[in-house]
Amino acid sequence: MTSLAKQAIIDDLLTYINEELYEDGTTVDVDDDLLLDIGMDSLSLMLMVGFIESQFELSIEPAQITITHFRSVDIISDFLLSLKSS
């Protein structure tokens, strides 16, 4: 159940990032470091957080939007699962 839910989150996030957020040919994979490998800027991060909140019907507190939770799509999906279960 958890792994299925995680894969669904990963798929949604990758589709959003690769098809909506970046129209310029940038391709992001599940383990890519969004900050160092992709160089995601602060505006893109804000847009992604907005997408996550509406897509997964979650509210993320500013204090939770940290490097630790948003380093890669894989890490984000774990963080979202922990939010959903809490």
């Binding site: 310029d24 940038t26 900050l35 160092l36 160089g39 505006l43 204090a63 490097i67």
Partner: protein
């Protein structure tokens, strides 16, 4: 008194050998260690044929090796040239070719891109930094540098008018331009700033700005003039306000010079109430106007800090500042302050005649912290300066040289100046200078594009955005994506349009030019429907 930048490092390296000079997360360098490592790098550079006056690139993500790279290059007599770590290869290549860089200081995180650079026409580029496991041709790793015995007998004779660094910025013709600063111009600004903000050995300066952004001059040189510790804020922290706030608190930062955009993010999303930032005594900002609503909010969140608006193009460094004592309830904007003690200002009309008090004109600045000129750009160097001749018969060589900022200001009777706008189409995106004409030039150089119009759009309190519209030479499927992919190869990420649209024709003014004013108005009307909901988290 020291007359070279690195002489301040050497002074502190002798007199406060164990005091912290730089910190990057868990890595620390004392003044003694930094001076020693800079001597090691300088020795390596000089034994590998770097000569006084050469240009050496620094291509590093923020890390503890950065101050070693800066000071090692300066000690070798070369000028350092920051290369934006997030810039596309094509842009890096242009800069490397433009000022003839043959050596680049770098690190492991850039090894892949360096290999690309070397395979695309820069085979002979000597790289210093990445581990040998990356198998880069012509490479020396940091281990080699840090086991080298410093040989000070190799040090060249350097004088204060020698070049210290070249910072590249957006150029309206589509080609980035290199702003050349000497030890003298850099130190004139750094000494002024260290005095003006009463920096001292107990201060801990936050280094927010990347090295290719001129605000970093304050962090690396005013800080070392005063013997402060510079806290390097890694790039990823600048993108996460809550992590940023935690770092400010845990590093006991006392001075932070940054851009309004970063402070707005801190205020809105930094969860600042969860962190003790009482040690912060100066919050200095510059690079772009600060919306009053957000400024008031962060001032209320940091009641112990003094807030200061510093102004100055990279060509002259900071030359005015205004410390905000209190914000008027109905204030719409804040002044950039009076011209500083080491500079002169003229405000002139289009005929270079001085304008009256409260009238708008272009700000011209004469200061010892002014650049030497633009690297290899004779035409630009002709037009960038105004020569004031107090006596008739003087030629330009003896006249007073003022830099034409292109900024329109007005000056109140008390000497405070107010920023009004630009004479040209230069804008600031998160503090970065962007020439809209450069983006247009890049778009038009694309084989698919017939004509292009690039303009900025501001919607309420949202950050400024760049929008682009193009007409095509002939119909093409996926044109938007193809054009964006090509554009990304030559522009830094902050200069990429937030929106690019293919149109069939452009609205025209009566003189036949593309009507960019109308396009901007139209975009703002459409932004209400398209962009706003998406950008609101």
């Amino acid at each position: 008194m020291p007359f070279l930048i690195h002489q301040y490092l050497e002074h502190h390296g002798r007199n406060q050998v164990d005091a912290e000079a730089a910190v990057c997360l868990d890595d620390t360098l004392s003044y003694g260690q930094l001076d020693h490592k800079a001597n090691q790098l300088s020795t390596v550079l000089l034994t590998h044929l770097v000569k006084k006056g050469d240009r050496v690139g620094i291509y590093l993500d923020k890390c503890i090796d950065m101050p070693v790279a800066i000071y090692g290059i300066l000690k070798s007599g070369a000028a350092y040239v920051p290369l934006d770590p997030s810039a596309p290869i094509q842009r890096l290549s242009e800069i490397i070719n433009d000022c003839g860089i043959q050596v680049v200081i770098s690190g492991n995180s850039k090894a892949k891109k360096l290999a690309q650079l070397k395979s695309q026409g820069h085979q002979s580029l000597l790289t210093i930094g990445p581990d040998n496991r990356f198998n880069l041709d012509a490479n020396i790793d940091w281990d080699h540098v840090y086991t080298t015995q410093p040989d000070l007998s190799l040090s060249p004779h350097i004088i204060e008018s020698d070049l210290a660094y070249i910072i590249y910025t957006s150029g309206s013709t589509g080609k980035p331009k290199g702003i050349m600063h000497t030890h003298h111009s850099c130190l004139s600004y750094s000494r002024w700033a260290a005095t003006e903000y009463q920096l001292n050995v107990t201060d801990r300066l936050g280094n927010h700005s990347p090295l290719h952004f001129d605000i970093s001059i304050f962090d690396w040189f005013a800080g070392v003039v005063a013997g402060c510790c510079t806290i390097i804020i890694p790039d990823e922290y600048t993108k996460f306000p809550a992590s940023y706030a935690q770092l400010i608190s845990e590093s006991h930062m006392t001075v932070l010079f940054t851009v309004p955009f970063a402070l707005i993010q801190l205020s809105l999303r930094g969860a600042m109430e969860q962190h003790n930032m009482n040690k912060l005594r100066w919050v200095i900002f510059g690079g772009e106007p600060f919306p009053i609503k957000h400024l008031a909010a962060i001032m209320a969140q940091l009641p112990n800090a003094a807030f200061d608006n510093m102004y100055g193009p990279a060509e002259v460094n900071g030359c005015t500042h205004f410390t905000i004592k209190h914000l008027e309830a109905r204030a719409q904007t804040i002044p950039i302050g009076p011209i500083n003690q080491i500079s002169n200002a003229l405000i002139v009309d289009e005929n270079d005649q001085a304008v009256d008090v409260d009238s708008i004109g272009e700000l011209l600045v004469r200061t010892p912290s002014m650049m030497q000129g633009y690297w290899g750009r004779a035409e630009l160097n002709e037009s960038a300066f105004y020569y004031y001749k107090p006596f008739s018969g003087l030629d330009n060589h003896y006249a007073q040289r003022y830099y034409r900022t292109g900024d329109l200001v007005s000056c109140s009777s008390n000497g405070d100046m107010w920023f009004i706008g630009r004479k040209d189409r230069q804008i600031k995106i998160r503090g970065y200078r962007v020439e809209l004409d450069e983006i247009e030039a890049q778009l038009v150089s694309n084989d698919l594009v017939e004509e292009a119009a690039v303009f900025s759009v501001k919607f309420d309190d949202e950050p400024l955005q760049i929008h682009a519209k193009v007409t095509l030479k002939s119909a093409c499927e996926n044109a938007t994506k193809l054009i964006l992919v090509a554009l990304k190869q030559c522009l830094p990420s902050y200069a990429m349009p937030a929106k690019l649209t293919v149109v069939e024709f452009f609205p025209r003014t009566t003189s036949g030019k593309i009507d960019r004013t109308y396009l901007t108005k139209l975009a703002i009307e459409q932004t209400v429907d398209i962009v706003s909901p998406k950008t609101k988290p």
